[in-house]
Each structure stands twice: as structure tokens, then as C-alpha cells.
């Protein structure tokens, strides 16, 4: 009996110290992580201020600070055009994708109709075929319609948006969480389905609408595969990703490395700002989407 008592006491002291130890270890891990995660970004920013084309060397810190790379970016290249192309795609993709995704997910979540299950299965199966392949045909058709090369931004918007209804999962998960009896109450109260949609459900869906817009806006900034294929190397139709990748190819690397860093900073700043501002909605979407599938 006595013995037992003493072990209890001992372990209760141990609990406190072990918690401190554990927390210290966690702080160390988190600090190390912060360094690792932030390192590339500081690297990019620092190297973007290097004067002259330094290529890569072991010193991260610029030998001489200056805005040469930024000036070069806007005077010697069509960076403004590419940036504009990408922003243009971002805005319109956000607009149309939101329309397609919301209408699809709302319908599948709230309305019951013949063929609903079939439609969902069809989209699931279609989604398993590598979508990139379909670009072979789409590019041919776009070529005939003049939507590649310098008109690629328009063509790409169509590619990003037309089938975007298939990505309904996250927002359907959100709509599923809104109680169905709200719809029913509204319908008994005399609302048509359309009125239910815009008077009851839409006002409640701000988080998911913002999430969808955010995702749509971010898509063109990150897309590389489709963009490269449709743009066909035309400098007037480039988005930033495809163009900046060419700068890092073996032959151009030494000339353009620091300019790449400067461009990266300019691209990253607005996108990051938008993203961090709307972070809350993004987190809601990620969490909800993961749980609902």
C-alpha cells in the first residue's frame, strides 16, 4: 500500500518534467522546420537582388544588392505580358469554375432526379482516365479555331473550366452538411427550387464559394502540363510557369537564374497575399473535403 502511494507521487513529478522535455523537443523540431520551410523563400528573395547574372554559387547572400534583375525583367522580357496572361486566366477561371462547380455540386447534393447516381459514377470513371491525353484532340481542334499559341490563354480558360463540374466533391461535401429540412421548410413556405437556391442556400455558402473562387484563381498559376502543351512555345501566349521553366534549362541557366528569382518574387507576392487573406476559407475547404471525400 505504502509502496503504491510513493510510485504515484513519483510519476506525478515525472509527468511535469517529461512534459517540459516534450515541449522543448517540439519547439526545437518546429524551429528547425520553420528554417527548412522558409529557406527557399528567403533564398529566392535574396538572390533576386543580386546584381548581374551570378548563376549559382555557394553564397546565398548577394555580393552586391540591386534591382538589376527586376529592371531586366520588365525591359528585356515580356514578363508583364506573361504575368497579365496568367492573371487574366486566373480571374476568368475563378469566375467560370465557380459557376460550373457550384451548379454541379448543389444539384448533386440537394436535388434528387433520375440518373443522379449514374451521372456521379460516370464522372468518377471519366476522372480515372488521364485527362492530359484528351488535350491531343483538344489542341487539334483549338488549333483549327485559333485558340492555341498567342490565343492560348483563352483556350486554356476553356480547358480549365469546361469540365470543372467533375471536381464537385469538396463543395458537395459542404452542401451535404446543410440540413435538408431547410430546403423543405422553404418549399413549404412557398419557395420554388430556384428561390431555395438563391434565398436560402447561397447566403449560407459563403465559405465554399470563396474556397472555390480561390482554387479557381490559383489553378493557372500552378498549371504547367496543360499550359505548356497548348501554348506551343509562343512567347505571346505564355503563362509565367511555362516561361520561367525555360529560363532554367541547361543553356540559359547561367544567364537567367537570378532573373528567375526576381520573377518568382513578383509572382509569389500577390498570390500569397490573396491566399493568406482567405486562408480561413481554404482551411475549411481542405478539412471538409477530406472528411466528406
Amino acid at each position: 500500500m505504502k509502496n503504491e502511494k510513493s510510485t504515484i507521487k513519483k510519476s506525478s513529478i515525472g509527468a511535469k518534467t517529461s512534459r517540459t522535455v516534450a515541449n522543448t523537443i517540439i519547439y526545437i523540431v518546429l524551429v528547425v522546420m520553420t528554417v527548412v520551410w522558409m529557406f527557399p523563400f528567403f533564398g529566392i528573395v535574396l538572390e533576386s537582388f543580386e546584381v548581374g547574372t551570378k548563376a549559382m554559387d555557394s553564397n546565398l547572400w548577394p555580393i552586391e544588392f540591386g534591382f538589376d534583375n527586376y529592371i531586366r525583367l520588365f525591359t528585356e522580357t515580356k514578363f508583364l505580358k506573361w504575368f497579365g496572361n496568367t492573371a487574366f486566366m486566373g480571374v476568368f477561371t475563378a469566375l467560370f469554375q465557380t459557376f460550373f462547380i457550384l451548379s454541379m455540386s448543389y444539384t448533386l447534393s440537394r436535388l434528387r432526379f433520375k440518373g443522379r447516381k449514374g451521372l456521379m459514377n460516370m464522372m468518377l470513371i471519366m476522372g480515372m482516365f488521364p485527362g492530359f491525353l484528351t488535350l491531343i484532340l483538344i489542341k487539334k481542334v483549338f488549333w483549327d479555331l485559333g485558340l492555341t499559341d498567342d490565343m492560348a490563354p483563352v483556350g486554356l480558360i476553356i480547358v480549365y473550366c469546361a469540365s470543372s463540374g467533375m471536381g464537385y466533391y469538396v463543395s458537395k461535401g459542404f452542401f451535404d452538411t446543410i440540413s435538408k429540412s431547410l430546403d423543405e421548410a422553404a418549399r413549404v413556405d412557398g419557395a420554388t427550387r430556384w428561390q431555395v437556391f438563391y434565398k436560402v442556400i447561397m447566403p449560407l455558402s459563403k465559405p465554399i464559394v470563396i474556397y472555390t473562387i480561390l482554387m479557381g484563381f490559383m489553378a493557372p498559376w500552378g498549371d504547367f502540363m496543360m499550359a505548356k502543351y497548348i501554348i506551343n512555345g509562343d512567347p505571346n501566349g505564355m503563362n509565367v510557369a511555362v516561361m520561367m521553366q525555360t529560363w532554367l534549362s541547361k543553356n540559359l541557366l547561367n544567364d537567367n537564374y537570378t532573373m528567375f528569382c526576381a520573377a518568382a518574387v513578383i509572382v509569389a507576392v500577390p498570390v500569397t497575399a490573396v491566399f493568406l487573406a482567405l486562408q480561413k476559407y481554404y482551411v475549411e475547404g481542405v478539412t471538409g473535403g477530406a472528411v466528406k471525400g
Binding site: S179, S181, L182, E184, A185, A186, R187, V188, D189, G190, A191, T192, Q195, V200, P203, L204
Partner: protein, 374 residues
């Protein structure tokens, strides 16, 4: 204010899951009808078919003589209160209640008048500018009722409106609904799984099981003359005791012989049996717990039993006792009828003697489970 008539209404989910079948009911104007039954019995489905929220697989629903099968909910002129209230979270209490009027483009003066009137009756005037999430459960319930009240609709549907409230609040709201009913003079259809609510609220009760109506009648009718074993056990709490025994016909008198006792059937029950020309036979006997009384050893009518659990409920005792071949029955005895000595003696393990009067028993056929007198 309208009559509702359901004829052969049927609901099939998917290919062949029968949720409601052969539902026939005439609801008179301004009647308060309660659908009651265990969960999954089809009571909510029936209500939702009347509301137009579920398709009707067969039969017709008429409101005020008009077949409404193919009408949208909004064209049926009904109001409905939902189990989880279904208040619009983004609208204030006032706008929640005004929602239907806004859709009908009713002028603001009229909207204001009707909403404040309803709020006055329900005592929620001070919350009109709040959002639903800032209200308690009971207040939300009132808003939900108020939203239905401002409609002035022909039929007032309520789908388990009290089941999300705690026991105390439920009793209070139940009383308020009875009062409210006098103020809103319209046809009510009320769904619940709670037989107390059904008994206290309904002009008539519809008892359902497995999609079928078991019995329709006033609270007194279903309590006094349950048409089958299910209704007998469902209505009344604690539930009716039933046990297999023999009905004897001797010299024109009926006797039952539960657990060795021999009790004569008297009153209307005896007359009823005679009219139906029932002879000596096996039956299932039903006796409500409150109809048992304490008796003495040696009385030919007494059943000997052993106390298993003694539940002291305050005004009454619920004795769970073992009789005969380990059968359990519940006996309910008013506390006032006992002497102090008796109360002390009723502990676990004690053998006691109980009996019941000849006019309170119910007789059922074991196979068909129906009441022999119906």
C-alpha cells in the same frame, strides 16, 4: 381550415421497400389528429406526403376536396413545423417568420402586423431581431411554430416538434400547444413517437406500425378498447402486462385463470364476450399495471408474486414482480393507498399477493393478436 382526406395512400421506396400502405383517413375540418407509432412506422412519411415533400406512390391525398398529389408543396397551402426547427440561420427571427409572406410579396405593413401578432402570442417579441443561433431550444421551437402561424394556411403539420427538447421543456411546450390550438383555429396533423403527447393533444389518434394503421380513435377509445396487442402495449405507461391464460365459460359466467388464480369477468367485458359467443379457450390476457391491487394470501383471486425491483416514483410505486414461470409483470400502486407498514415491507424478495377487477381486463387472440371484443 380544411378537411384532409387520404385514400389508399401508399409509399414505396426504391423498388420494393413498402413504407406506408393502404392508408385511409378522413380528417375533419379543425380536427387535431396525431400520428403515433415507433420509429420507422411510416408516420413521418405520411405527413411528408401530405406536405408534398415525398412523392405519393399510390392512392390520393385531398385537401379541401382537391387532389393534391401532383401539386408542389407551395401550392398546397400548408404550414409545417420541423423536428429540428429548420430555421434559416442567416435570417433574423422576424425575417424567418416573414419568409413565406415575402415570397408572396405581401406588403410590409401586413407582414409587420402578422409577424408581431404571432410573436405576441408565442412570447418571442423581444427576440425578433436576433439570429436563430442566439436562441435557446425552446425559443427556436416557438419561432418555428410562429413561422408556420403567420401563414394562415389550411393545414398545420407538425413533425415531432418537441422531441429535441428536454423533458421539462417538453411538458411545458405540450401545454402551450394545447392553448395555441384554441387560438389557431385550423386543422392540425401532429406526428410523434411519444404516446403521452398523442394522448394529451389529439382529438383522434392514428396508431401506426410497419406502414399500416393499427387503430384510429379518440384517446379514450384507444386506451379502453385497443384493437390489438400492439396498440394495447403501445398506449399507456408503463406498458400493459400480457400473459397467456385460459378463458373459462362456466354456467354463463366467464372466468380467467392467470397463474392459478380464478377471477370472474364482469361488466361490459362479460357482456361483450357473451355477445360474441366466445367459449372456453386459450387467450392472451392484458391487464394495465395501474389496475392491479394488493390482495391477501388465501384469496382465490390472488396471484402470488415475488418483488424483483421496487421503483419509488413519488406518487406511486412501480413494482416489477416475478410470477409463475419466471414471467415479469409490472404493478403500479398509488403511494397513498398503502400503510406505512406495507410500504416498508415491499422490498426485493418479498412475496406479495395481487389481483385485479373483472371489468378492466383485455382479451386477445394469440394468433391474430386482435382484441376478441372488437
Amino acid at each position: 381550415m380544411a378537411s384532409v382526406k387520404l385514400t389508399n395512400v401508399k409509399k414505396i421506396y426504391g423498388k420494393n421497400t413498402l413504407a406506408v400502405d393502404n392508408f385511409n383517413l378522413d380528417i375533419a375540418d379543425k380536427e387535431f389528429i396525431v400520428f403515433v407509432g415507433p420509429s420507422g412506422c411510416g408516420k413521418s412519411t405520411t405527413l411528408r406526403m401530405i406536405a408534398g415533400l415525398e412523392d405519393i406512390s399510390g392512392g390520393t391525398v385531398e385537401i379541401d376536396g382537391v387532389v393534391v398529389n401532383d401539386l408542389q408543396p407551395r401550392d398546397r397551402d400548408i404550414a409545417m413545423v420541423f423536428q429540428n426547427y429548420a430555421l434559416y440561420p442567416h435570417l433574423s427571427v422576424f425575417e424567418n417568420m416573414a419568409f413565406s409572406l415575402r415570397l408572396k410579396k405581401v406588403p410590409q405593413d401586413e407582414v409587420y402586423k402578422r409577424v408581431t401578432e404571432a410573436a405576441e402570442i408565442l412570447g418571442i417579441t423581444e427576440y425578433l431581431t436576433r439570429k436563430p443561433r442566439a436562441l435557446s431550444g425552446g425559443q427556436r421551437q416557438r419561432v418555428a411554430i410562429g413561422r408556420a402561424m403567420v401563414r394562415d394556411s389550411k393545414v398545420f403539420l407538425m413533425d415531432e416538434p418537441l422531441s429535441n427538447l428536454d423533458a421539462k421543456l417538453r411538458n411545458q411546450m405540450r401545454a402551450e400547444i394545447i392553448l395555441l390550438r384554441k387560438k389557431i383555429d385550423t386543422t392540425f396533423i401532429y406526428v410523434t413517437h411519444d404516446q403521452t403527447e398523442a394522448m394529451t393533444l389529439g382529438d383522434r389518434i392514428v396508431i401506426m406500425k410497419d406502414g399500416l394503421i393499427q387503430q384510429v380513435g379518440t384517446p379514450t377509445e384507444v386506451f379502453d378498447m385497443p384493437c390489438n396487442l400492439f396498440v394495447a402495449e403501445f398506449i399507456g405507461a408503463p406498458k400493459m402486462n400480457t400473459f397467456k391464460t385460459e378463458l373459462l365459460l362456466e354456467n354463463g359466467k366467464y372466468y380467467v385463470t392467470p397463474f392459478g388464480a380464478k377471477i370472474e369477468v364482469t361488466g361490459d367485458k362479460a357482456k361483450g364476450l357473451a355477445e360474441k359467443r366466445v367459449g372456453t379457450r386459450e387467450i392472451v390476457l392484458g391487464v394495465r399495471p395501474e389496475h392491479f391491487v394488493l390482495s391477501k394470501q388465501g384469496d382465490p383471486c390472488a396471484i402470488s408474486c415475488q418483488i424483483l425491483v421496487n421503483e419509488m416514483m413519488g406518487s406511486e410505486l412501480h413494482l416489477h414482480v416475478l410470477v409463475g414461470d419466471n414471467e415479469k409483470i409490472i404493478v403500479r400502486i398509488p403511494t397513498v393507498s398503502l400503510t406505512d407498514e406495507q410500504r416498508r415491507s415491499l422490498v426485493q424478495g418479498t412475496t406479495i399477493y395481487v389481483t385485479f377487477e373483472g371489468k378492466v381486463m383485455h382479451f386477445f387472440d394469440e394468433e391474430s393478436q386482435t382484441n376478441l371484443l372488437v
